[in-house]
């Protein structure tokens, strides 16, 4: 029962996170979602992962969010969404209905007592050693990406980015070649 309540609260928090205009508030609602999910997982019996989710998802990510938001500053959301609103609601709704319908149709139920349970650490270290390696690689890649993104800017503040350069440039040579070849094709194609 309390699990259901927790899930409901998580959902409400999620909707609020999406709806809220202010970034900081949205970040806090996200932290709420994380916390609710962590509690739900704890209630389910998955203690280890609940703790990790609480510390990393609700803790670390939120701190990063707040940090980033203070760096960037609040930005008023433009009102016109790119995708029509009805589509933005209808598409996820369709996915939700289809997936949930399939699920209910399949009728999955808990079978916790079907097999001897193994602890997370046992599975993680013995069965899924490769996962650990992949996770390490992932973290490493994340750190590298972060460094690359942020360091680049600090070292060369004067040299404007490639993007701006590309924008200010004339249509690139490649483009011109493409146009020319189009003309050639037409010439060749036309019967003499």
């Amino acid at each position: 029962m309390e699990s259901l309540v927790l899930l409901l609260v998580a959902l409400i928090c999620a909707i609020q996170a999406v709806r809220s205009a202010q970034l900081l508030i949205a970040a806090l609602w996200l932290a709420g979602v994380s916390a609710c999910i962590a509690l739900f997982l704890y209630a389910l019996g998955a203690h280890a992962i609940a703790v990790i989710e609480l510390s990393v998802g609700a803790g670390l990510v939120t701190i990063l969010m707040v940090f980033a938001i203070t760096m960037v500053g609040e930005d008023s959301e433009p009102h016109q969404p790119v995708v029509p609103r009805w589509m933005a609601i209808a598409l996820p709704a369709a996915v939700l209905i289809l997936a949930a319908g399939l699920l209910l149709n399949a009728g999955i139920s808990s079978s916790a007592d079907a097999a001897p349970d193994e602890s997370l650490s046992a599975v993680l270290w013995q069965l899924r050693g490769a996962d650990v390696a992949a996770q390490l690689a992932l973290i490493f890649a994340g750190v590298l990406g972060l460094l690359a993104l942020l360091a680049d800017d600090r070292e060369e503040p004067g040299a404007s980015s490639l993007w701006v350069e590309a924008e200010s440039d004339e249509p690139s040579a490649q483009f011109r070649v493409a146009e020319k070849s189009e003309v050639d094709l037409e010439e060749v194609g036309s019967p003499q």
Partner: protein, 638 residues
Amino acid sequence: MFNWVVLSIAFPLAGVLLNLALSRRLREPWPGVLATIMVAGAGIAAALTAGALAAEPEGSVITLGSWIAVGDLHVTWALRVDLLSTLMMLVVTLVGLLIHVYSIGYMRGDARFTRFFIYLNLFVAAMLLLVTADNLVVMFVGWESVGLCSYLLIGFWFDKTKGEGWRNSTAARKAFIVNRVGDLGLLLALFMIFWTFKTLAIEEVLEQAAHTLELGAPIATAMALLLLLGVSGKSAQLPLFLWLPDAMAGPTPASALIHAATMVTAGVYLIIRMQALFVLAPAAQMTAAAVGAVTALFGASAALAQTDIKRVLAFSTISQLGFMVTAAGIGSTSAGLFHLMTHACFKSLLFLAAGSVIHALKHHGRQADFDAQDMRFMGGLWRRMPWTFITYWAGALALIGLPPFSGFFSKDEILASAYEYHPAIFILLFAAAFLTALYVARQGLLIFAGRPRSKAAVAAAESERVMIWPLLILALFSAVGGALNLPGNGLLAHWWEESGLPVHEAGFNPTVAALAAAVALAGVGLAWALYGRGKADVSHADPLEKHLGRLFPGIQQGWGLDALSVKAVVYPFNRLGVALSRFDLNGIGGADRGLAHVVGLSAQRLSKIQTGYLNWNIAIMIVGIATVLLLVALWRTG
């Protein structure tokens, strides 16, 4: 020591490579000298081979290595030394050597001097390979190589101005394409031979044919007829002679060497070489004789009305080749080869003399509407070019067939054989012999007799020595070449018997010989009556035209066969080509363009979706997810 034969081919090949390598270093006339030395080397090697053959008359086969070995097919680089190949080698190298010397003078100042000699050397090498090959495939290599050289040399002056270059290259292409028809026949014959005998080595083929096939076997007839098709392409017989008159577009020494003395006789050589097959196929023999005889008469009549000095000789060559094909076809091979050899001497001599005249006129002619090859602009040259005059007439008398010149003996052997074989063939050849005397005398008189009919002819002077000496030597051979096979104790016939080649000799027939000589004299007399006083002028009609009337333009156009071939073959073929190209352009090309258009258009339309907005990308992605889920749901339920 038959290995000399390898050296004989290697020499001109080395000449090609050396001239290619040194083309930037050597200045005129040294490339020509180098090429000449190489051909001289080949000639010496051929002579040494002949010396070795005198000791061992049956000859031998020299195997250099394997070329193709697939299943039953074994093609080896093997060279055959016997009387036939050695005599051919001697003719090719001797005439080739003299023409090389002559070319040094004739091609003086030409922009592509070196290239000309490279082609000539390549031709000599290819021709030697053709006549010595012991395997039909190797022979085919030589056969095609000489065709290539012919093509290259006909179109040698492809860059002349005023459309002349275009005419030259067209003539070259014509020669190449017409020869393809004949080569198709030869190739099919080779396939059939391999299919039947499982070998392509000439010796084995002939042996097996003699032992396994009956007289008149259909397969033998088919092979011989297909070979004959190849012969009629290479040796310019009816109906494939069309290319040879146009082939005169090439430099005159090349015409002399390739289109008179050697390459065009390759067909005759082939018939002689494959004689054992022809002997088994009387129908094919009859066809060969008929084709040869009709061609002989046709060529002689067409030569009668030509005004171009070289075209006369071209039709004359066609006619003389007809004699040889007839002789080889009816089995009197030694007579055919004898005539081949004498003809190589006197016809190349005639060509070279004509070249000397053209050369002289070209260098002195500045007249408008002047054609250095048109005999109507000549006349009275005997006083200005005495050596050319004398040597020309030596060759002309040999061609006419007056004793004691070489042509008399060789032609009369053929006539005697034809007389024994079939009266119709004999009559055709006899008529051709009469016309031969008439057209040769006409040409000789038009060029040399009377008074000059153009400023160039007035100004003409004798050619330089390097061109005159080969003329003299060839004139000598033309005059006394008959000694090779005098009636009674024929040296050639004797060798022939010794070497074990198939013999079918008619011998010397005094009646036929006397008749032929009389007819030749009559032809010369008629020519003198018509042209003796130098009446032929550009402004006057040809004297012959008055007597022949409307027939004259007809024979001038080669009985209209050329035009007929254009109408019957070339024009429909072009129409087909145009139709197919239209289909290609509009049908296939249209489909291609349509496809490209559809792709381009759809890409243009689709690119509008690619807005670059993240939200839209995700929206499309979600549509995809929803579709997959929907499909899963449908699959589950349905």
